[in-house]
Symmetry: C2
Subunit: 206 residues, 2 copies
């Protein structure tokens, strides 16, 4: 049985949606950032990084969203969440998710978590001012070069879609002009109508 | 035929080593950061992100080191560069590489590329001061929790090894105290003795 440790409004939603998409049997446990549970000894024993998400499996714990999403796709191949029989197409899926993880999410994190990379209040304010531009540039690239439509990889829904949808929740708070991103906005709207997405979000906010 | 676009002293070395490890037929082309080639129209037509590495294949272009490394492992399965028949073990490989990409490399980038996330000189100086701590914390976690030894994933050499080796080139310049990281230092030394590593580095510096 699979167990997902998550925190609402974080990137753990991507794996939560993918588990729903996969038809997986799983349960979830909330990690409260407010109570700093991610740094508790109990949680650090599960994930020494002190971050969400964590996926507990029969074989051990997995972390890092791109790895977890590929794991879900490979563990539940009937759900066809990635082109598992096409090495190049699978690599394209992975490249997209890696970009979200290491560039888009990182740019976003400079709005609230500047303390990871600096110490001064003036630096945090500077970083916050830059977020609309740095995050906006990522979305402009996705809009122009990456999002094929209707899904990220074209006609086939993949593990790229819940991940993009999850990060796209934060566009307005990041000061990104969504009106300039019609494909991303349309993708987000269509994703929000899927039952798997509704169920995952409802579970997290319950 | 595969073509790798690389820049010396960057993370493209990881894929370069993996291509050697795989026994792949490939050729390379240097991208000069000094001449700002990564932002030239010709290069942006290959990789609109304006970054290295890029891997040109018969099917199209791939970017993002974790995706490229998994692609190389899957394209050359006889080289046994990843546990391709074990979904969980493969996910662990991917989680390690995702951590390098989105946490360790990102922390390092704040030493030289703070302009991605801020605008003020004082912020850049603040970020630079923090790099020994932020990058050092990543290596401490790798030393304590991740590097099983002798290779990252234990007895089997995988695509995690060239990636860790590549980023570990920068430890001293990042102000990390290597003496506190005996396993990481030993891994780097053993990697540096491999013929594939020597060949890739020699090619890049020729």
């Amino acid at each position: 049985m699979i167990k997902l440790y998550y925190t609402a409004h974080t990137c753990s939603l991507a794996s939560h949606i993918a588990l729903e998409d996969a038809g997986a049997e799983y349960f979830t446990e909330r990690v409260s950032f407010k109570a700093k549970q991610q740094n508790s000894p109990d949680y650090l024993a599960i994930n020494p990084k002190g971050r969400v998400p964590s996926l507990v499996t029969d074989r051990g714990v997995l972390t890092e969203t791109p790895a977890m999403l590929a794991f879900i796709a490979q563990t539940f191949p009937r759900a066809q969440l990635a082109p598992l029989d096409d090495v190049f197409a699978f690599a394209q899926v992975q490249a997209f998710n890696s970009y979200l993880c290491s560039t888009l999410h990182v740019a976003h994190s400079h709005r609230m978590r500047g303390y990871r990379w600096a110490d001064d209040e003036s630096s945090f304010a500077d970083m916050q001012r830059k977020v609309p531009q740095s995050v906006g540039a990522c979305y402009a690239l996705i809009e122009r070069e990456m999002l094929r439509g209707p899904w990220v990889m074209g006609d086939a829904y993949t593990i790229c879609d819940p991940y993009l949808f999850t990060l796209a929740q934060w566009m307005e708070d990041d000061g990104v002009d969504v009106a300039k991103l019609p494909k991303v906005a349309d993708h987000r709207r269509r994703m929000s109508e899927r039952s798997a997405v509704r169920k995952a979000i409802a579970d997290e906010l319950a």
